[in-house]
Symmetry: C2
Subunit: 337 residues, 2 copies
């Protein structure tokens, strides 16, 4: 294992300390490392809290700030944070309007956020993201996994919270964005968890894992590496087929054929390849009648040092588009003011 670390035991604490120091204008880290929160809270606003295992940076701490999350709870690498982390975060950022938990659909995360919701003294609602169309159940999930689409939910719901929507309306918005979002990933290499010290799985020299999860969970099939256009075609096809059942003609030009396209790197794939994949997927979406009106390309929901990427498509109506465009000021996502 080749990593820039001191020891597997201290990776998380040292990395969080660095993150908090580098972005001290935006965030504050809890002294016990239970959560990262916005430096400036907004009175009367519903507080948004997310979290999950570490190793997916910048998700979630990189999305704490104006227009997005109020706090993020980092678990150990690929391990759910504990309910006391969410409770401490809620106590720190709930300004009286309640707390919305945004939770990726993994059993540990869902269970721990549920426990925290039950134990919390204030009002709590939850949105569970499950945008991964690759498989219907996986190593750590009953039902679909929550992957890169989670950042789209966090961004749009964050804008809604900033605009003053109440807890029930934000929960509804989160459910709506999640339902409008589909993702699928492909891995060219495994990731290596520091505490494990060896790759999570093995891929042959010319193999790829189509439909991989963000912890290296198995996908649909392990197949020979093919050209990017073919990979893009399979991924785009899987997403559009899945939308087909739910949205039907909605993806036609008449009724909302506009979409956000996110090409998300898993951590070890050069930006040059991500833009190439963006080019391939966008052309295929266009041919299918989908108009890409907003784009995001980069490493946002990663899997440590995994090579590969995911494709996320969110169907945008005028309201979701407006909320996506609203200002955001976080470590990892910034636009507007």
């Amino acid at each position: 294992m080749k990593k820039l670390i001191n020891s597997a035991d201290t990776v998380l604490a040292e990395s969080l300390a660095g993150f908090a120091a580098a972005h001290a204008d935006i965030v504050l880290a809890d002294a016990e490392g239970r959560f990262v929160r916005r430096r400036a809270l907004k009175r009367g606003k519903v507080a948004l809290i997310s979290g999950g295992g570490s190793g997916h940076e910048p998700l979630h701490a990189g999305f704490v700030g104006h227009g997005m999350l109020d706090a993020a709870c980092p678990g150990q690498v690929f391990t759910s944070p504990t309910p006391d982390q969410m409770l401490a975060a809620a106590a720190a950022v709930d300004s009286g309007a309640g707390v919305l938990f945004i939770v990726k659909n993994y059993e540990g995360d869902v269970m721990n956020f549920e426990m925290a919701a039950e134990m919390a003294s204030g009002q709590v609602a939850t949105v569970v993201t499950n945008d991964d169309v690759a498989v219907e159940a996986s190593t750590w999930s009953t039902g679909r996994r929550g992957v890169a689409g989670t950042l789209v939910v966090e961004k749009i719901v964050g804008a809604g919270a900033e605009a003053g929507l109440d807890l029930a309306a934000l929960q509804e918005l989160g459910v709506q964005v999640n339902a409008a979002t589909r993702s699928i990933g492909v891995a060219l290499t495994s990731c290596t968890v520091p505490a494990a010290g060896k790759p999570t799985f093995e891929l042959g020299e010319l193999e790829m894992e189509m439909g991989v999860g963000i912890h290296g969970e198995p996908g649909r099939r392990r197949v020979p590496l093919v050209p990017a256009d073919s990979i893009a075609a399979e991924m785009t096809g899987a997403i559009l087929a899945d939308f087909g059942a739910d949205f039907g003609a909605d993806f036609g030009a008449e009724a909302g054929g506009e979409a956000l396209l996110l090409i998300n790197g898993f951590g070890a794939t050069p930006l040059m390849e991500l833009y190439l994949m963006y080019h391939a997927v966008r052309r295929q979406l266009t041919q299918a009648g989908v108009s890409v009106v907003r784009s995001l390309v980069g490493n946002y929901v990663t899997s440590l040092d995994m090579a590969g990427c995911s494709v996320t498509v969110t169907q945008l109506d005028a309201e979701l588009l407006r909320l996506w465009d609203a200002p955001v000021q976080t470590a990892a996502l910034r636009w507007g003011r």
Copy 2:
């Protein structure tokens, strides 16, 4: 070689097409692929043009936009762009106030930008960056290499251009920022150039290359991988030793001990490790009396899929700090408005 590409011949064109489409609100790509330019030019402003071999994304095209570059010329992977590219870019963005070339110190780049400067019809000045303290000459450079500090020069000079400085003043500013900037890199793995199809160099399972260049050029020495704190100590020490000779007491608390710290990933290193390195280097700088007042952590000047990172320190006076903080709106760097 495992890459998300169609063929080595088309990587650059397809990636550029994706970049231009994803950031169409900010940039325009030349139809012949010679350069990427700002969509909205500013009359009367000196035009800033950079460029170099591709494979270092987001450098340079990702820094085209308000507050930074007016155009960037991408060469083939790790290969200088040609003079006709710079001439075409200059013709497209020179609004009459002249053009400043910002060039990393590699023989091919320096020669081609020089030829373009001689052939250009308008006024041209040049700033050459050479911030890498690792070695005094290298595979493709006479004198020190220009590495991640180049982005600091582009950002600060870009702010100066936006503020209306003339060509001579901007050239002087660029020279000043370059002189106030020091970098050094470390590689844990090689990169693989698509057209070569195999790693540029070989590192043992537990080896690292201290002082590596951004094309995989040899550094100071190949040594066993050690804990991050030791790596950080060697890198910080090399930078401070080099500053020592030039700046002396300037880095003390009395006379400008304030600095920008950039921890730059080479492309395949997780953000978690980059923040951990930031934490380590920042502590060591603090102990040495350097106050880190601005920070940047992420993949900005990459080497395709190389694992590793570089450390860049720029000494900031009040004026450089103000220019660093000025608004920037590019694909890869955004703040303010």
